[in-house]
Amino acid sequence: MVITLRDASARDMVRLVRNRRYSPMSETMFYILFALRSERHGYGVMQYVKGLTEGRIVLGAGTIYTSLGKLEADGLIAVTSRGDRRTNYLITSQGAEVLRQEARRITEMSRYAKEIL
């Protein structure tokens, strides 16, 4: 499931990528966006990324909180529900497109990286 924001436009997404806020994307942002292809709260993202990377990446609480705020402000994720303590987030259509563009960039780099191994 991906959320589509009414006020989101392709121009906004292009702006985010072109001004290099998300391209190249930090490993932290990549994995948070990747994790939020399913609805998760902050701690859920931390656990998911730790499991996915077999413990190589352990995101700190401050990093998760700060990054979720930035991604939400930029329209790449959106709040889906708020409980007493936790808030659930999900990637938006803009976030999914930015993530796909980053995946293409990494895939291209990976192709050339294999040549030197």
Binding site: G42, R85, R86
Partner: protein, 176 residues
């Protein structure tokens, strides 16, 4: 149980990482900080207990979102309270020192939040001090009132300058 008081600790260790390291050293020596309140930046009280290894983290959040506390607490951090907008967290550890900020971008963002908060306070003090200085020279005041206004203006301006130095010092260590 013995206690000790530390005055102006937050002003002696202005860089977040320095303040955290100092708190950690206190805990190593058995001086435990159990609560942080609005005035803790001026007076901080420690209780004598067993030496312990804690990682402390301070994080400036003026208006945190509703999931702020849960995000830290779910990850094992204990909230000791807040002094102004600075939240103080701690987490006990044995071997690997835990980090709340695990990438360069959010470490720098944390420093920027502190610099921003200090800059706002410095601006308010500077404007207040300037207004008082101008009033002491140009307003229709008695000699006694004008002198008091001048003294207050100098005090406010001095505090503003001090805060500017604090902001610069935090900024120089923004990647820690």
């Amino acid at each position: 149980m013995s206690t000790k008081r530390e005055w102006f600790a937050a002003f002696r260790y202005v860089a977040p990482a320095d303040f955290e390291d100092w708190l950690e050293a206190q805990a190593h020596e058995g001086w435990q900080l159990e609560h942080v309140g609005q005035w803790s930046s001026i007076l901080m009280t420690f209780q004598k207990g067993e030496p312990a290894t804690y990682r402390y983290v301070i994080d400036a959040q003026v208006s945190p979102r509703p999931d702020y506390l849960a995000t830290y607490q779910d990850a094992g951090w204990e909230h000791l309270g807040r002094m102004a907008s600075a939240h103080v967290w701690r987490r006990r550890y044995d071997d690997l020192r835990p980090e709340a900020f695990t990438d360069a971008e959010t470490v720098r963002a944390r420093s920027q939040r502190f610099v921003g908060a200090v800059a706002v306070a410095a601006s308010v003090l500077a404007l207040g001090g300037l207004a008082m200085l101008l009033a002491s020279f140009f307003a229709d005041l008695s000699a006694g009132d004008a002198n008091q206004m001048l003294a207050a203006g100098i005090l406010f301006a001095s505090m503003a300058v001090l805060l500017i130095f604090v902001a610069v010092r935090i900024w120089r260590q923004r990647d820690r």
